[in-house]
Symmetry: C2
Subunit: 166 residues, 2 copies
């Protein structure tokens, strides 16, 4: 049963957002191999595939958080990730033949990373507030990976993709 609006608490917001990012991660899992295929440089392609593998583990961590809550893992349509990934697909369609494709793909992937950083940051803070220590640990592991991936992508842009594109 859904709680009435005035009875809704942080637990509801936490579960709501957990479903949102669970849906998002599954979309990202499907998008990354397409991005790897569209990339020109070996480095960008390898980075996308490596993050695909990380995403698989991140999905398992979310499933562990659902388990802590005693809930079956279930996604909830996440319009934000639909929009962000849709823009990445537009970049592929418009720039696939262009030397700027890798710069565009890296930027698209960074928009994905930043969405995840925002969501995992909120979830981790709320889990701490709700005294869910194991969930904090799981969410923090993923948050750190997302931040590291974003930094790696910035370096990849600096290291060559942007110069190649100009």
């Amino acid at each position: 049963m859904m709680a009435a609006a005035h009875e809704k608490t942080l637990d509801d917001l936490f579960l709501n957002t957990l479903k949102d990012i669970y849906y998002a991660e599954k979309k990202i899992l499907k998008a990354l191999p397409k991005m790897a295929k569209a990339a020109r440089s070996e480095q960008a392609s390898v980075a996308f595939l490596k993050h695909r593998d990380e995403t698989e583990v991140q999905i398992q961590r979310l499933e562990q958080v659902f388990e802590i809550l005693g809930k079956a893992p279930r996604g909830k349509t996440c319009d934000a990730i639909e929009g962000i990934i849709g823009e990445g697909e537009e970049i592929i369609a418009e720039f696939e033949e262009s030397p700027a494709i890798d710069a565009g793909l890296i930027a698209a992937a960074q928009a994905v990373e930043h969405y995840e950083i925002a969501r995992y940051g909120a979830l981790k803070a709320w889990a701490a507030q709700l005294n869910m220590k194991d969930a904090v640990r799981l969410l923090d592991q993923t948050l750190k990976e997302e931040i590291k991936t974003d930094e790696l992508l910035t370096k990849l842009g600096m290291a060559g993709a942007n110069a190649q594109a100009a």
Copy 2:
């Protein structure tokens, strides 16, 4: 005239992304007063309104970048921001009567900030690659403001909104 796909370069990607964030900023400008109105705490409300004023200046900076390019400022539908703001509106609809509303609004605003951080980060790196020094300066000013706003929102969550919500 549009460049053919294989002729497209970083200039095209830059202009494309500039139009995307210009559209996004205008959407954000309209969303922030609604978020301020929905917030329970004075602090959250004030933070949203302050960022609304900042957004106005950020839009002017983007217009200066269009001018540097010799182009009229024009937005291009940004599905990412539509999705991100749409999720914020869902939070308002579902949690308006709940003590968790401010925690939800703050998280929604941080998703917006992170989208902007990703976009301005890419634009700034590309402007540097394209030797557009004035554009680098303008984009960096906004990027720093977005990072600062995100940090402020994290503190607001920690300072009370999350505790109030639990």
